[in-house]
């Protein structure tokens, strides 16, 4: 347990979820990229094997004492399993160089069995990494899987811009592709849930910046709801994060039935509280670039304080997080400050005078 805490993350999250007293508000920075700095490793080295993946998360946990370690199935994971080719930058996040499907008309060529663990070496590595993390953390800290939501998964199979154009010209095949991706996501999550993991669906390509609300409702909502329903059936908890501006779709996002709503910094926490705070616990939303990467520790402190000021009294609860993944250019110093400020303003019971 971190020296500045009185409860372990598992104790805290359990109590918090049941509306009981905790030592502080839970804190969940996005560490999929910047986390390697805690281990002095490159991103390429981290991706190389399960031991490195686990080491980065364990080193982050030991340093920060945040509330969950992460296994990153990733935004491209499904596409890669099916045959999309990615690059392997030393200090960057891989980008798809070649998509398995350039044309939706070739949908039948997809072999969905490739996404199963026995056929997907990447998924096997994620699975092993999760086992190592759980072994190291004992009863202290759980592991959450970040996995693409249905629309972003489809955009890892077929380029996003082609998918968007097909919304108009070939909607039936878009539905078919998303349906296939949805089935695969459910199967992968069920497999990983055998380790007792929780899940966060990340669907940046379904952002209000990219899709109109009606298209979200037609092409994203029903599939997301199906994933959530099936995961709830097996007792898994599901968080939901969509990047960018989600003001227009925030209600249907909650209607999907998720347990936590993680908001990008483009969404105002006070507005989100007003709209959906009575229905769901809000997670957010310090700017990962403007503050966590380009700002000073003093900026981080101010931004954390503002999040608490706006969201501390959200009826279903508030968890401090960053608004999205912190890029590799961010600093550990700001990350340490993020945790310190979270502990300062989030001490229980919450005291408005600290951040008012």
């Amino acid at each position: 347990m971190h020296k500045d805490d009185q409860m372990t993350p598992n104790e805290r999250l359990t109590a918090f979820g049941q509306g009981q007293d905790v030592d502080r508000v839970p804190i969940l920075p996005f560490l999929a990229t910047i986390g390697v700095k805690a281990s002095g490793m490159s991103l390429r080295d981290m991706r190389a094997n399960a031991a490195n993946e686990a080491k980065v998360q364990i080193d982050c946990y030991r340093r920060l004492g945040h509330d969950c370690m992460t296994v990153d199935y990733g935004l491209h994971g499904l596409g890669i399993a099916l045959g999309s080719q990615v690059n392997d930058p030393e200090y960057g996040v891989p980008v798809i160089q070649e998509f398995v499907l350039e044309d939706l008309k070739n949908l039948d060529s997809l072999d969905m069995t490739k996404t199963e663990r026995k056929n997907d070496p990447e998924l096997r590595q994620r699975f092993q990494a999760a086992e190592l993390m759980l072994e190291a953390a004992g009863d202290e800290c759980g592991v959450d899987v970040t996995i693409s939501g249905p629309f972003t998964a489809a955009a890892s199979v077929c380029p996003a811009s082609r998918l968007l154009r097909a919304l108009i010209r070939d909607p039936e095949n878009v539905h078919r592709l998303i349906r296939l991706c949805t089935d695969a996501i459910i199967n992968i999550c069920k497999d990983l849930h055998s380790l007792g993991l929780s899940f966060t669906l990340c669907d940046p390509v379904a952002s209000g910046t990219v899709l109109k609300k009606q298209n979200y409702i037609d092409f994203v909502f029903p599939y997301t709801k199906r994933i959530v329903d099936e995961l709830h059936e097996i007792g898994a908890s599901v968080g939901y994060h969509i990047c960018g501006n989600t003001n227009n779709i925030i209600e249907p996002m909650v209607d999907a039935g998720v347990d936590l709503l993680s908001l990008d910094n483009m969404v105002d926490m006070a507005t989100a509280k007003e709209k959906v705070g009575k229905r769901i616990c809000l997670v957010g939303n310090v700017d990962p670039i403007g503050v966590m990467t380009d700002g000073s520790p003093a900026d981080v402190d101010q931004s954390v304080k503002e999040c608490f000021r706006k969201a501390h009294d959200s009826p279903c609860g508030f968890i401090l997080a960053t608004g999205c993944d912190i890029p590799h250019e961010g600093s550990l110093e700001n990350l340490d400050q993020f945790m310190a400020s979270g502990r300062k303003y989030g001490q229980w019971p919450l005291q408005a005078k600290l951040f008012g």
């Binding site: 160089q97 811009s161 968007l164 940046p204 990047c243």
Partner: protein
Amino acid sequence: MTEIICVTGFLGAGKTTFLNKILPICLNGRKTAVIENDFGDAGIDAAVVGETGAVVRELSSGCICCSLKGEMKAVLLALIASESPDVIFVEPSGVSRSTDLIGALSQMKDGDSALSVNVVNLVDVANFEDYLEAFGDFYGDQIASAQTIFFSHRQGLTQEKMNELANQISEMNPVAACYLSDWLEMSGEALWELIQDPKDFVNTPAFSGSGEAKSGAGVFSSWSGASDSRFSREDLEAILASLVDGQMGQVLRAKGFCRGEGNLGWHFNYRRGSVEIKSVDAVAEGRMLAIGQNLNTAKLAELFRSRPV
């Protein structure tokens, strides 16, 4: 100081074609680089890159929303430090918001000075209405954030429809220079001129014959010629003075070189009635370019005693 030119537009709007056309022109004496980030779409022609020596960098970041901000900064600053380019073209993903891109670029500095950022947007007008209806705010944002807007895929649209779309686009961005002409038929030189100072071309009176197109929207065309004829300074002054009276069409910009007497040559620049003529070393062949509305290309050719290029 490094100039940044962002070429934005959705899939199929012609960003890469535009770059392929303008890069060789831009490279004329300038050190040029290109940053591409289009998630798997075809990049600029290897042949164009090979011929021009432009430096090309690809962004490798994965997240569609964050990639511009974090990695763009690192790639751009590294490029400025290592190559000191005069011009950097940025071809962002077709689904990115220009406002985010401009916001990220505006925070960066080249030494002590802010970067100069110029945004060109290509609109596939054949699909404009469908895309506007179906896509999120990135699409309208690309139009609203541009200084210069070109229409692509305009074949088959009636003049009436073009004017209607021009009005709609001008309402989304009243301050941009918006070109209804077929930019594919314009020379790379003319495109380069058009995007250099878009303010010069905004609020020109609508072309005659249509009161529909609002300020900011206009049909522009270009004319290029080559000439072996020799001109005295007085000849050239008279030619450029005659561009004002409207007989050549509405010439907004003309520039070029022509042969003078003996070993002399002239470089001339005409900008909305103001004329600049400089003597230069001998010119082997005169080359001239005019941009404007309703250009009378036959008369321009006669004036410069030129042949088509």
